[in-house]
Point group: C2
Chain length 597, copies 2
């Protein structure tokens, strides 16, 4: 189906909005009146720009407070409409959105509303334009789509149809089944928006919190299915008012937006991108660093051994059990400092995974980073992390491991057997995008988002996982821009004995994050422990939590650059210790203040 | 009365919070449990720190899910309480807050709740501690203050009283009159928070949107009056959960907080700071600039003349009618660039105004900037703007004008007769603080806040004025941090003929902000104009609005540094052209892109 987006959903000048929509692959746009008013381009120039960019102008919007108003007011409205229809002619837009009236003088009189809309449609028809009438959820008298349709039906005018908007329908809890009563050719337009399920004033909710389909709590797909059954063949168009998108760069927002429509089309069965190939484990995590020494010291103390070196690049492979960490000292890190740059995802079908990702607008990275490397499918996540689709030690497929030559390396290990989870920091305005990306591109399941209090701001965190938990990625982000060095990335390592692993780390010279004594006094108040157990945790800085499934013990290394490590022992426990995160975040601030890092 | 603040209301480590509370003048604090847990200080060290800072620990908070739960759960709760009471002993805190239960197993049984709370109070009494029981607005069975009190009354235990919280009472629309039925000595604590009037889930509302009294829509003062009538003699304590304060610096937030309590005490009649002295006009606006030339060129073209020069400093006075603008080229501006640094407010009693400001925690600036200057009372507004309280040409008072020597300067003028309004840009997290500051310190009236769409984010704006409109200050701010050069300050100049003033400005070489042609097409669609009128506006870039009181015509100069000028002709109109602001903001972006400024 054709896809469209309202210019109000993107930031910047009209030109920037149009360019972003086109680059992201949209077929058309809705031109929001204020965006045109504020543009130095004439309507003809906008029309030409859209044509150059391959965009149709699917809707001009909105006209307000048109119908069921006193005669004098309505006369003024017709005068205004005449101007706007002429403008639409210059613009090459053939459909105008009319929102149900919120005018204080509007009367509750459906036959008057139908008469007024019919007169407006007469005028529209003369100008070769169609009128799409939509019920605002907060319309004064008309606020349900069934009501708006009954007025359109009564008016019975060829140039008058209805516009359906998923927000206005679903925010009021209206049953979308009634859509079946509307002939498809009378649905002139379909606007789509999702929203988080908030109990709040619907106008505020609509103006500030809308989001792209799949990023909120509405059954947008269910509504779209209903609409498609009517025979509707107009575009799927996004109209999203969102305070975050207003500030974010238009380019990435448009990509996020278009991805949401691709996923929606797949969900409702009108498009079939390559099927998701769910990863089955973490092949490796790759750190970049300008100086391998501090990272090597921490990895060594954690029980890792340097087992191989890349044949042509300054990349070391450190391994312990199934946990593999690449340490890359090539030039890139000189600017960014030590950070988590890439994740190798074990994939049943790397090429298929990459095809899926590309179809869903993930930027594809070069398959070979150097001529002699094994070709490796990779894409970039929204936060810039490279995701490699790997087939480790499967002879029929290119093997990244083959690029590495074994080196002598010996360590007894510290009982770490795999990477438990990876925690990535999202740019503050890409949190919902990151969730949809990992869910749709990788086929992972998204858990509930939780709020976590940092001493200097509120953070959000949400895990995406596969079914057996062999891939767990925690996506974290501030609720607003804050010091992002605070919100470091981390690699959590699974062990069956966190106490032993922590002791070994310490004995090998590693430094664990000190946890305040008050935390342990509180643990003692909350839970009963075996004799000596709490003292051990207190000594080592091990944190504790439990859920309905089991117990959780975990501790943290100090941060190197933007990365730290966590040792986790989860005995059935399914969470990530969110309960302890405020204490950990505060302790990291304290440690930073002390070591001046 | 004594004032207190919950540590959760401020950002940072516990030490930072305590220091900020003390410096702002609070007498005590509520220690939020999580802040203690996350602190490396032992309870004894926290106690000592508070003592050093002159702070009492008025409340330890909160204990949750204590009462009306199954026996096994309650036994665990008593065990936990024993630990916490011991902790409170170490801390030197004698009152603990217990919130009404939200536990899924809690039963709706007031006599069980009373029995449980009584048992808890027994234990508390042994430790020399008191229990203050509070109804959460979302408590499972107990969610009104009258219900919480009836349980406390039934328990009839000397160590058990109630805690009243203005948010929990007023968010539910409870009538505060019922407070009269509670004996003052059984009100163990009073927590205060205001909130904007939002129709939203009360838990989310409470956790994210609370604000300081006088910054929201609740009648906090009315509740406090009721409480004081009971004979309550505990502290007035602020407990404010707010996403903005979480990120803002603790120091300024604490000052804002304490100011809100000072104003509240004045409102309810338990404190009498010096009365407000409402300013009666703008004596001058002061620009700082590293280079006087561009500013002088604009002022000259606007019809201003350089009429005087400061006797000892590089400051020129430019004047036209009653509009006076100081241009200061002293060193300070080299770092900040051209900006609006100070406002001279015409005051009936400058010394009284300064006493008022100082009593309400406004930073007082040195009275004389140099030995030879006339002594001038001045304070700093939250955004750093210096506010001078002036008595221009009143012989009995020091006159700032006397510091200036007249110079030859001649101009026909352009019909500007006074400064209409000044628009100041607030740091994004100080918008509510700025409103309360101007309202309480200067005695101005605050108008409704309006949202304004900028191409790269949403802005808020609110005017504060005196009764006759001779002082109008528009406080603007982003809803989140954005490019603050975008949100420039401006000086609006009143004229009776904006067309003539704009023409003269142009003829004198001034550059007006170009307004897109589309804007005028829209004006033509909305309003009828005399023949040629719209063409004139289009030619000059004059914008148009009207309200119930009259018409408004205005235009803008290009921006110099962080400042631009507006020419306004208000024929009865009372607003500020907010309707046109999105077009103006977009045009400023376009102009910046074109001139590369």
């Amino acid at each position: 189906m054709r896809t469209s987006i309202a210019t109000v959903s993107l930031s910047g000048s009209l030109t920037e909005k149009l360019t972003a929509a086109s680059r992201a692959g949209f077929d058309g746009v809705e031109i929001f009146e204020n965006d045109l008013l504020a543009s130095p381009l004439s309507p003809e120039e906008v029309r030409a720009r859209c044509a150059d960019l391959g965009l149709s102008i699917d809707l001009y919007q909105p006209m307000r407070d048109i119908e069921a108003v006193p005669a004098e007011e309505f006369a003024r409205n017709l005068r205004r409409a005449r101007h706007k229809f002429e403008l639409m002619r210059r613009l090459g837009a053939d459909t105008v959105l009319v929102c149900s009236s919120v005018h204080p003088l509007a009367v509750d009189d459906d036959s008057l509303a139908a008469r007024h809309l019919s007169q407006l449609a007469d005028l529209a028809q003369e100008s070769g334009v169609r009128v799409a009438y939509e019920a605002l959820a907060w319309g004064r008298h008309v606020n349900t789509y069934t009501h708006a349709w009954s007025i359109v039906e009564a008016a019975d005018h060829p140039a008058l149809g209805t516009c359906l908007d998923s927000f206005h329908i679903l925010s009021r809890g209206s049953d979308p089944k009634g859509v079946a009563d509307i002939p498809g050719e009378k649905i002139f337009f379909l606007q789509l928006a999702d929203a988080p399920l908030l109990a709040m004033d619907v106008l505020q909710w609509s103006r500030h919190y809308r989001c792209f389909p799949g990023q909120g709590g509405f059954d947008v797909a269910g509504l779209v299915r209903q609409v498609l059954r009517t025979g509707y063949d107009g575009p799927l168009s996004l109209e999203v008012f969102n305070d975050v998108f207003r500030q974010a760069e238009a380019g990435p927002t448009a990509v996020d937006a278009h991805r949401s429509l691709l996923v929606l089309q797949e969900t409702v069965g009108v498009a079939a991108p390559p099927a998701p190939v769910v990863p089955t484990g973490v092949a490796f995590a790759e750190l970049v660093t300008p100086d391998a020494e501090p990272v090597a010291a921490v990895l060594g103390a954690l029980g890792f051994s340097r087992t191989a070196r890349h044949r042509s690049k300054p990349v070391d492979l450190w391994q312990q059990g199934e946990a593999r960490i690449l340490v890359n000292t090539s030039g890139a890190a000189r600017r960014t400092g030590t950070g988590l740059a890439a994740i190798g995802l074990e994939s049943p079908d790397p090429a298929g995974a990459a095809r899926r990702a590309e179809a869903l607008l993930a930027p594809v990275l070069p398959r070979r980073r150097a001529a002699e490397d094994a070709p490796l499918d990779a894409v970039a996540a929204p936060d810039g992390t490279a995701l490699f689709f790997c087939a480790t030690d499967r002879p029929e497929l290119p093997n990244w491991r083959a690029d590495f030559a074994d080196v002598a390396g010996e360590s007894g290990g510290a009982g770490v057997h795999r990477i438990d989870h990876l925690a990535l920091t999202q740019p503050w305005h890409h949190y919902d995008e990151a969730t949809l990306f990992h869910r749709s591109v990788l086929g992972l399941h998204a858990q509930e988002s939780v709020d976590v209090a940092d001493p200097y701001g509120l953070m959000r965190s949400r895990a995406v996982t596969n079914a057996d938990g062999s891939i767990r990625i925690a996506l974290g982000g501030g609720a607003a821009p804050t010091d992002d060095t605070v919100h470091a990335q981390h690699i959590a390592l699974a062990t069956d004995d966190v106490v032993a692993a922590a002791r070994r780390f310490r004995q090998a010279g590693g430094r664990l994050l000190p946890i305040p004594a008050n935390y342990y006094d509180d643990l003692a108040a909350r839970h009963e422990f075996a004799v000596g157990e709490l003292e051990t945790y207190r000594e080592l800085g091990i944190l504790y939590d439990r859920d309905a499934h089991g117990e959780f013990r975990h501790c943290y290394t100090l941060t190197v650059g933007r990365v730290f490590f966590e040792l986790v022992q989860r005995d059935g426990y399914r969470g990530y210790g969110a309960q302890n995160a405020p204490v950990r975040l505060a302790a990291q601030h304290t440690a930073r203040a002390v070591i001046g890092g």
